[in-house]
């Protein structure tokens, strides 16, 4: 009787494990199919995202060559400048994502002035912004921190750009940076269109944009936040998003700050033991 019960119990456990594994496989398959669909969407979308600004730049440059008055020249040069910045931002995200996917991006932290770096990035976004009527307020302590400037730029550019993009005229985006000895806390808050809380978990998915389709109202190809998330994963950082429709979105990022380190390059080899298989 006991052995029968044990055997039955064993079979039941095996079935439960098998069902669990099956569910996991089905879920993995569903996600892979979804990822493939996003990739297809990305490939069709990227043509617009690169071609459109490039066409504007070429067209404006052609007109600029023939412009005779200063006011027109200035207007065309401004257009070229803005479109170039848009294009550059999209390309930076694409290159970063490509490097992260190739496993070739290595954090290169150095001591920088947090205030100067932040101001420079915000100024760059303000110049790029299609909606100059959205203001950006920043609060940042003036301190020297040991951080990869490219990482800080990637995070700030993407979070602030999104916040501006999804805000309306007259609204304000707030950027706050605080740090202690071990971490940098960065918050970007907007009072824009926000999103349903159940969509939050997918905003960092690769190629994912909540506003999709031919008539989407906002630029971008859904790579910025996934690159930001991947870079944070690599450096031990975290991102959390809080949002409510019509009330706005708050993105909070925590980046570990480590002191400059010697990564062991000068360590004494004698302290190591060989794995004893010198020849493959």
């Amino acid at each position: 009787m006991d052995s029968t019960q044990t055997s039955y119990s064993g079979n039941s456990t095996q079935n439960a494990e098998r069902n669990q594994l099956l569910k996991q496989l089905e879920e993995a398959n569903r996600k892979l199919l979804q990822a493939e669909a996003y990739k297809t969407y990305f490939l069709s979308n990227i043509r617009n995202e690169i071609n459109n600004p490039m066409a504007s730049i070429l067209s404006a440059a052609t007109c600029l060559k023939e412009a005779t008055d200063l006011a027109t020249s200035h207007q065309l040069a401004t257009l070229i400048h803005n479109e170039s910045r848009n294009l550059n931002f999209q390309m930076e995200n694409l290159f970063m994502a490509a490097e992260l996917e190739a496993g070739a991006w290595n954090p290169a932290p150095k001591i920088i002035s947090l205030q100067e770096a932040t101001d420079e990035i915000i100024e760059s976004i303000q110049q790029k912004a299609d909606q100059p009527e959205v203001s950006i307020e920043s609060s940042c302590t003036d301190a020297q921190v040991f951080i990869d400037p490219a990482l800080l730029r990637l995070i700030l550019m993407n979070l602030i750009d999104n916040a501006v993009k999804f805000s309306s005229s007259g609204q304000c985006v707030q950027v706050e940076l605080q740090h202690n000895e071990t971490e940098l806390q960065l918050t970007v808050r907007d009072s824009g269109i926000g999103m349903d809380p159940d969509k939050i978990s997918s905003v960092c998915d690769r190629f994912r944009q909540l506003d999709e389709g031919r008539c989407k109202a906002h630029q971008g190809h859904g790579i910025g936040l996934s690159a930001t998330k991947a870079a944070l994963d690599l450096t031990g950082g975290t991102i959390s998003i809080d949002s409510q429709p019509s009330l706005g979105t708050t993105c909070s990022v925590c980046i570990p700050l480590s002191p400059p380190q010697n990564h062991g390059e000068s360590e004494d080899f004698e302290e190591f033991f060989s794995d004893d298989t010198e020849v493959f």
Partner: protein, 178 residues
């Protein structure tokens, strides 16, 4: 011969035609070292989780991605997939996660991924030092295929295996696969 140094961060990989000493630190993460005996060059990755779930970027943070990307990078510098040999390291239980819950057995699942992917690709594993409760500092000599290890103190109660035991287990694996 001038040997350059490289610190390998988690979620990255390293392949270079110049001779390097690649340094990395492993806990539950796994590093796969590949070696092509004909071109006498090696490459290494360092992944943190077993498999990519299809949502974020497909980075070498995940074992199934990291191993394939490493092979592709090796092929770009002239290696051939048929000639590759592998060594695997890491996958320790570095937190107090002695549990049946598979989501917590990250080290073990990282090792399983390396074994399974390399087997599927018919790449022989000539040496391994995996599992246990100790993390390792590792130096990979990309010009010789040699690996130097140093144990890091375990973070959970229990006696770590001795150096002799580890080398012995490494040799056992090597012999079984020979």
């Amino acid at each position: 011969m001038a040997v350059l140094q490289h610190h390998l961060h988690p979620s990255t990989l390293f392949v270079h035609t110049e001779p390097h000493h690649v340094h990395t630190v492993l806990g539950s993460c796994v590093a796969v070292c590949l070696w092509d005996p004909e071109i006498q060059l090696g490459g290494i990755n360092h992944y943190m989780l077993p498999t990519w779930n299809g949502t974020g970027l497909a980075t070498p943070r995940y074992g199934n991605i990291a191993i394939l990307k490493l092979i592709e990078a090796m092929e770009k510098i002239g290696a051939s997939r048929n000639r590759l040999r592998a060594k695997i390291f890491g996958g320790a239980v570095v937190l107090n996660t002695h549990t049946e819950n598979s989501t917590m057995r990250v080290g073990e699942r990282n090792i399983e991924t390396a074994l399974s992917v390399l087997k599927d690709l018919s790449i022989p594993i000539v040496s391994q030092c995996v599992g246990g409760i100790s993390g390792y500092k590792l130096i990979y000599q990309t010009y010789s295929g040699k690996v130097l290890l140093r144990r890091i103190q375990p973070t959970i109660p229990g006696s770590p295996p001795s150096q002799a035991e580890i080398i012995s287990s490494t040799q056992t694996t090597k012999n079984t696969q020979a």
